[in-house]
């Protein structure tokens, strides 16, 4: 604890991100289990069992942000992965192949030696959940097959009607119980239900403080720069069942609250317009997207993507239906109507003036309904929008020039609307 005392939120973020990877490396060295997990799969079961967790999507995003994606994409390409497969998945399969080669030959391949990738160990098991896409089923099938390790699947059926029906929750809760039995077999010891309760409580505290941060975007001017949510996301993904996330988010939310009281805002008085970002960040060009918008005095105060991890549930519910609901209600796992409702609420809360839709080459689920979503929302609240091409880790898809032209147009529309309203 003393190590982190007095650290600012930003320092805590960096510290705990490294620490999580370090935990996994140490676990591996001790001969303990390491699990690779889909980003919104429930970690509660593995963490209860003391298994160290690594999140390939976050890991791949990190590689992308540090401009190391191309090397890993090329390894995946040589293994037969089509450019059409999600680039998180391809970066991760490339990385996994490098680790596998190292394990077999004892020699690190050149691309790995030169990679800016955080050093994480191979998994002993994987856990996946399709609440953000079915791609994560295919990707984890491949990890399990190529490494010959167990794969725990939490299938949350697409909610084509809302509200989420009881029979879906019952099916998911049954899979939770099944995952627990799988883990008992894998670990060779019984599940610790008392610890499980503590882990659920911990997760809820992390989620609580995560939501406190996002809530700060409702103020006008905003003390929160929405892009910070993208930076802090790493911990809500990778450490929400540990106190790492709670400590960091609490510190950040407290800082923001103090700033608000002191009248310190993210854009220091330069906030002219506010926008919603819909979709995943363009990690390799995160700086460009942020700076362009900042240059136009436009601040992001709404985004549904980090809100995927608003996984609040009743930790005392022994049926686990509440937890099942939390993991299946993710807005992209629901019908178009609900998706629209979720975005409308975010826009209203963040008092946004318009939306940037990221048409993500990697992500079919987060792209193929953009046109309909945008049209319905425009009809409801009249706010302008633009669509920009990108990809969350394959750096080749995003075009800075296209981005700048489109967002310039958006900002002009937003400013014109404001002028008209005055």
């Amino acid at each position: 604890m003393s190590l982190t005392q007095g650290m600012k939120a930003k320092q805590l973020l960096a510290y705990f991100q490294n620490r999580a990877d370090q935990d996994a490396r140490e676990a591996k060295a001790r001969g303990d289990l390491v699990c690779w997990s889909a980003s919104v799969a429930p970690p509660e079961f593995c963490v209860t069992m003391g298994i160290a967790m690594i999140y390939p999507e976050t890991h791949a995003a990190g590689i992308g942000a540090r401009k190391g994606a191309m090397d890993m994409l090329e390894v995946a390409d040589r293994k037969g992965y089509n450019i059409d497969c999600c680039s998180y998945g391809r970066v991760n399969m490339g990385y996994m192949e490098c680790l596998k080669e190292t394990a077999i030959t004892g020699v690190k391949p050149e691309v790995l030696v030169n990679s800016p990738a955080a050093d994480v160990p191979l998994p002993d098991l994987v856990i996946t959940c399709n609440n953000i896409c079915n791609t994560l089923l295919k990707w984890y099938e491949n990890l399990a097959a190529e490494l010959d390790i167990p794969c725990i699947v939490i299938d949350v059926p697409f909610n084509h009607t809302m509200p989420i029906p009881e029979y879906a929750k019952a099916y998911i809760a049954d899979q939770f119980r099944n995952a627990i039995s799988q883990l008992e077999v894998i670990c060779g010891r019984p599940f610790d239900w008392k610890k499980f309760k503590e882990v659920k409580d911990q997760t809820q505290r992390s989620v609580y403080h995560w939501n406190r941060i996002a809530d700060m975007a409702q103020y006008k001017p905003s003390p929160l720069n929405g892009f910070d949510l993208f930076n802090y996301m790493a911990l809500i993904v990778a450490c929400r069942s540990l106190d790492y996330a709670e400590i960091t988010f609490k510190a950040f939310a407290d800082e923001l609250e103090e700033n608000l009281k002191a009248g310190i805002y993210a854009f220091k008085g330069a906030e002219k317009t506010r926008f919603q970002w819909e979709g995943i960040a363009v990690w390799p060009h995160l700086g460009h997207t942020f700076k362009s918008m900042k240059g136009l005095n436009s601040i992001m105060t709404g985004t549904a993507y980090p809100a995927l991890w608003d996984l609040h549930y009743d930790a005392n519910d022994e049926s686990m239906h509440s937890m099942a609901e939390a993991y299946t209600r993710i807005y992209i796992n629901t019908c178009l109507q609900n998706k629209v409702d979720v975005l409308l609420a975010i826009m209203e809360k963040g008092k946004v003036d318009g939306t940037i839709y990221h048409l993500n080459r990697s992500c079919k689920l987060m792209s193929f309904l953009n046109v309909e979503t945008a049209e319905i929302i425009k009809e409801k609240n009249g706010l302008p929008y633009v669509s920009v091409d990108g990809d969350q880790t394959d750096p080749r898809v995003f075009s800075p020039a296209q981005f700048d032209t489109r967002v310039q147009a958006l900002v002009e529309m937003m400013e014109a609307n404001m002028a008209a309203a005055e």
Binding site: K79, G80, Y81, N82, D84, C85, C86, G89, M93, N130, C133, N134, T135, L137, K138, W139, Y140, E141, N142, A144, A145, E146, P150, C151, V153, I154, D155, P157, F158, H160, T161, P165, Y167, A168, A170, Y171, D174, Q175, N178, C335, L336, L359, R361, C363, K364, L365, S367, F368, L369, V371, E372
Partner: protein, 374 residues
């Protein structure tokens, strides 16, 4: 015209003119048709209403224009065609459309139907080993049943449904036999004919289809099989169309001795088992039994091994992977399968299936050099 030719030509006509098949059915029975989106739906429920289940598998060579507004260029080729046809109103005569959502593309497509027919969406459970998955699917099927009854104004009785299950099981069994016969008699059942027999199945009542295919099998088997001096392949993928592409197989004497196409053999792979449970439960259970398909989750990844077994059993020379353009579930399966083929020394070739193209010169060259290498 021989009997065999007559039956094949009848099936080819139906395969080529689904609209006519539907109109004829309407004229004959006074009932309409229900669209079945790929890949799997409990068609037996539709059959039990007396409506004609019609498969929706895109079109060939349609250039994409209206669909561009609604789908980016990286959506799979078949759904681009389906979207284009929706925009043109091509499916508006369907009394209803049933949508399963086993891939990310279909989840989205199920929420943006541009036609006028009412859409029924349901989700397959993917943790298929669990009994809870069967229970979940039974409830989804109950909802399909209720919506079908409401949309069509027909009651689906257990008796009618049990009868439909028998009809479908028989059709699947006969089609599995047909696959073997086609492998033994490639001179009689060439690639184009083989496909037509499968495709016509999508636009006919299955009992009628069964009767025709039975007759066809009997006629073909009446003469002894001749030795085949060409090559033999197993094909896998979503679908292998159009006839111009299959003509190339014929030209280079490539016999399709077995397939794992979503449009063909995956539809007939598993039956609905007999048992004490109710029909909806048994229908649900058949999804649990499904294997070797890119949209039926399998953490053991058995598809490559299944294809290798098919290749060995049929004595095939190679596997041809017909890759639907931009189909990510299939693309994710490929690297693992490919590695397994290589490890077993089984030759394979991947060709791209793009429903928008109408020129096949490139595929032709590739198939030709592949055959020469075998």
């Amino acid at each position: 015209m021989s009997k065999v030719e007559a039956i094949l030509s009848q099936l080819k006509d139906i395969a080529a003119n689904p609209k006519k098949a539907m109109d004829d059915y309407k004229a004959e029975t006074g009932k309409g048709a229900v669209g079945i989106m790929p890949i799997y739906a409990p068609e037996e429920l539709v059959h039990a209403t007396g409506y004609l289940p019609m498969g929706i598998w895109g079109a060939q060579g349609k250039s994409i224009s209206k669909a561009r507004t609604y789908l980016p260029a990286f959506a799979c080729s078949i759904m681009q065609q389906v979207m284009e046809l929706q925009c043109e109103g091509a499916y508006d005569d369907l009394a209803t459309v049933i949508f399963s959502v086993p891939c990310d593309t279909l989840k989205c497509l199920s929420q943006k139907w541009k036609g006028t027919s009412p859409v029924i969406v349901f989700t397959h459970p993917q943790n298929r080993g669990l009994e809870a998955a069967n229970q979940f699917l039974v409830t989804e099927y109950e909802l399909i049943k209720t919506q079908l009854e409401a949309n069509l104004g027909v009651k689906i009785t257990n008796g009618a449904l049990e009868n439909s299950i028998v009809v479908y099981n028989e059709n699947r069994a006969v089609m599995r036999e047909f696959v073997q016969v086609a492998a033994e008699y490639p001179q009689v059942i060439d690639a184009v004919s083989r496909h037509a027999v499968f495709k016509a199945r999508q636009f006919m009542l299955k009992e009628k289809h069964t009767a025709l295919v039975k007759e066809l099998i009997a006629e073909v088997k009446a003469t002894p099989a001749q030795p085949w001096d060409g090559k033999k392949v197993v094909v896998t993928g979503i679908l292998l169309e159009p006839n111009e592409l299959l003509d190339i197989f014929n030209e280079f004497k490539i016999a399709i001795v077995d397939d794992d196409l979503a449009q063909e053999s995956r539809q007939i792979r598993v039956d609905v088992l007999d048992g004490q449970e109710g029909p909806l439960y048994r229908l649900a259970k058949s999804w649990q039994q499904m294997y070797g398909c890119s949209v039926a989750t399998d953490t053991k990844k058995g598809r490559g091994k299944m294809l290798i077994n098919k290749t060995i059993q049929t004595g095939a020379d190679a596997i041809i992977v017909a890759m639907m353009k931009f189909c990510d579930p299939e693309e994710w399966d490929y690297p693992v399968m490919y590695r397994e083929f290589e490890e077993k020394g089984i030759k394979s070739l991947m060709i791209e299936v793009d429903q928008e193209v109408s020129s096949f010169e490139q595929v032709k060259t590739r198939l030709q050099s592949f055959v020469e290498m075998l």
